[in-house]
Amino acid sequence: MIKFENITKKYGDTEVIKGVSMEIKDGEFVVLIGPSGCGKTTCLKMINRLIEPSSGTIYIDGQDISKMDPIELRRNIGYVIQQIGLFPHMTVRQNIELVPLLKKWPKEKRLKRVEELLNLVGLPPEQYMNRFPSELSGGQRQRVGVARALASDPDIILMDEPFSAIDPIARTQLQDELYELQEKLKKTIVFVTHDIDEALKLADRICIMRDGTVVQFDTPEEILKNPASEFVENLIGKKRIWRKPELVSVKDIMITNPVKALPSRTLAQAVEIMAESGVDSVLVVDGKNRLLGIVTAENIRKNKDRAKKLEEIYTRDLYTVRPEASVVEAFRLMSQKKIGYVPVVDEDNVLQGLVTRSTLVNLLGENLE
Amino acid sequence: MKKIAVLVSAFLILTLVAGCGGGGNKAQDTIVIGSKNFTEQILIANIVADLIEAHTDLKVERKTGLGGTSVCFEAIKRGGKNGGIDTYVEYTGTGLVNLLGKDPVTDPDEAYRIVAEEFKKQWNLVWMKPIGFNNTYTLAVKKSFAEERGLKTFSDLAKISNELVLGGSMEFLERPDGYPGLKKLYNFNFKDAKSMDPGLMYTAIDKDEVQVISAFATDGLLVRYNLQILEDDKQFFPPYHAAVLIRQDVLEKYPELEEILNKLADKISDEQMQKLNYQVDGEGKDPSQVSKEFLKEAGLI
């Protein structure tokens, strides 16, 4: 548990944090959000003591962190930052095993951990371990960043606008993955963003900040239903439509340019396509963009022969929705069939887009289930 | 970290490899001889060195070609034991005017008397007997030019100086007993006075970029470039008699040096020195070779 008690921060005469008190529970995903200069990043960096408060105390599991060794503290807190922050002169492996190395783990244990983490974030270790950050796409780099933060299995992970510099498609994908990862790992995550969509999608609770104070700290649904002030209303403004989700159709929220490939592509090429876009599946379409099926990274991994064509392995029977369908319909379909995404096709089976489950889950809130 | 280690070792190896050629430790009984960086100095330093080597068991280290009077003088004040030199050949005029800061004296014996006395008193440096030649400053023009314009003396030159450009060594153009004093006495009025390295002056006059140059009376290059020395008819330049300058403590430690060095007294005249210089500058002989030949001919070794 992380507890802020009357935290203030002054730079000269300017008070940037004006008495913040809050509690973040174990295993909770908390998103700090607000306009720039509201103090969200300052609060985040106080947790690993990159910034020291002017007054007040921060406790982690009941211990005053100002009395702890900052180096030791930081090694036990994962940290992911906006501009990726991977060390360009180190390989993916060296980047990930850095904290374990600082903690003097033996070599075999480090290597095992690196492989484990790369698998976890969907980058096959044998393929990516010895690459340098400059040889990765933005999305892949950020995955390595996440893997690095997880390296020494910290209980707390701080993420400072980790996805803001990444293109929208890869960002959605990374958000989905992070969400799934959190379902599995149940870390305490403190995540800073200025993107309300991202906050609604990921957070267990959202902490809305303004001018160095906390305006509202609650679950996404509660914030959507009962915004505490006009400021909050404005912040979530365009999202208010989601309170009547039946009115929203799939085409309003779908990804319009999903990653796709022709059946004549080889598996090796498909891997390349996925790697380029930072996704883990590819829709198979014919020359007229008609949907044929899907191939996931998982499918490919099972096939050793990378020269095989996609047409030999793709999954043919898959569920689809129409663009005009309501998001509620799409959501029901995904819930019933237990699938993470559903392609959107028109009456001629021509691919229009893709809807993912985590987008829906977070946009709609839990009241639908 | 590994890379840094590689770098460091690469440097060390290179330095060691390069190190084979240089350096050299000073054995105990070593005399360090210096010289300024022009031919006469290098030649005479070789002569002194060869002479000492021939008559004693001392090791002689030659540090020839040092950058000017001040380097030599500072070096001899430190002494060979402290990274300096023990002896070099200096000129009475330079000692009197530059190093002692006194006014020029026209009487050679008087000039020698003053430097000998003062150097001993102030710095414990001893002047041996003069070697003979007087390497005074002078002005030189092309022989053809002198004939054409009927130039014999400085006074002749002064009359047409406004048509001409002077090239002089930096030292000559600066020192009070050089060009500044000369200009006043003879009323020189050159179009321009360019300072340049002594060696480069000869090329400059040969290419007619300057028409008059400062020169040393004993300079071998005067012969090679067919230049004519003009007469200092008002006796402006003080005498510059060359003599070996040596540290008192070295002389005390090796008293035999006094007699050996004084063997050179009055052994080389102006003309002889000019010829010796010419053998190096004009004929391209090595100074050490010229030195040995001279010493043999003169019966000094």
Binding site: H89 | G68, L221, D281
Partner: protein, 213 residues
């Protein structure tokens, strides 16, 4: 003309080799010491930004001092021979090393440094594992500039009795013997080029693989 020059070179080969070796030794010693002084100074400048203008100012001023003037100061203090020549060359070689070390260390992306700090690296670990490896190519470029300059400045060593190829050059000038000048200048030039090659090789060698272009 060319064959005359070649004859001269062959005839003086022993001298040329000896002087080249002296020259290399003086230059290398100076460069090594300049690295040993300059790199730590650059690091100090990075760690104490308040004194960095002072260090930079002094090394700039010293660099701007004419070499013969510097030599004039050096002889009364250090005498003649290799010590003052090496000191003189060091003085001139320092600036590019200090400057590049400082630029290299401070020019690193702030995000990378913050990531390192946030992950719990100590200042020392940050320096040795992140800053220096990333700055190394820039530091090496500075060293390369210094090294080439050092070979040039070392010709002045002849004027204070330390030998080197300057001896042939200055003797050649005073004797108005262009063959002798060339016999000193050409090897000096070759040495400078070789050293430039050597250091650009080292520069490439130390550039971390991940940041090679």
């Amino acid at each position: 003309m060319v064959s005359e020059y070649v004859d001269f070179i062959v005839q003086r080969m022993d001298d040329i080799l000896l002087f080249s070796a002296q020259h290399l030794q003086l230059s290398f010693t100076a460069i090594l010491i300049a690295i040993a002084i300059g790199v730590p100074l650059g690091i100090v400048m990075m760690m104490l930004p308040r004194i960095s203008p002072l260090i930079l100012g002094i090394s700039n001023a010293v660099q701007a001092m004419p070499s013969l003037a510097l030599m004039g100061f050096m002889v009364p203090l250090l005498g003649i021979g290799s010590t003052p020549s090496i000191v003189m060359v060091i003085v001139y070689a320092l600036l590019p090393i200090i400057k590049n070390t400082y630029t290299g260390l401070t020019g690193i992306d702030k995000a990378i440094i913050e990531a390192g700090t946030g992950m719990g690296m100590t200042e020392f670990q940050l320096m040795t594992m992140v800053r220096i490896p990333l700055a190394l190519p820039i530091i090496m470029a500075g060293i390369r500039i210094s090294a080439v300059m050092a070979v040039g400045y070392t010709t002045l060593a002849a004027l204070i009795g330390a030998g080197g190829l300057g001896q042939l050059i200055y003797r050649g000038i005073s004797m108005v013997n262009s063959k002798m000048i060339l016999a000193g200048a050409v090897p000096a030039m070759v040495l400078a080029l070789l050293i430039d090659r050597l250091f650009s090789f080292l520069e490439r060698l130390v550039t971390p693989k991940g940041i090679k272009l």
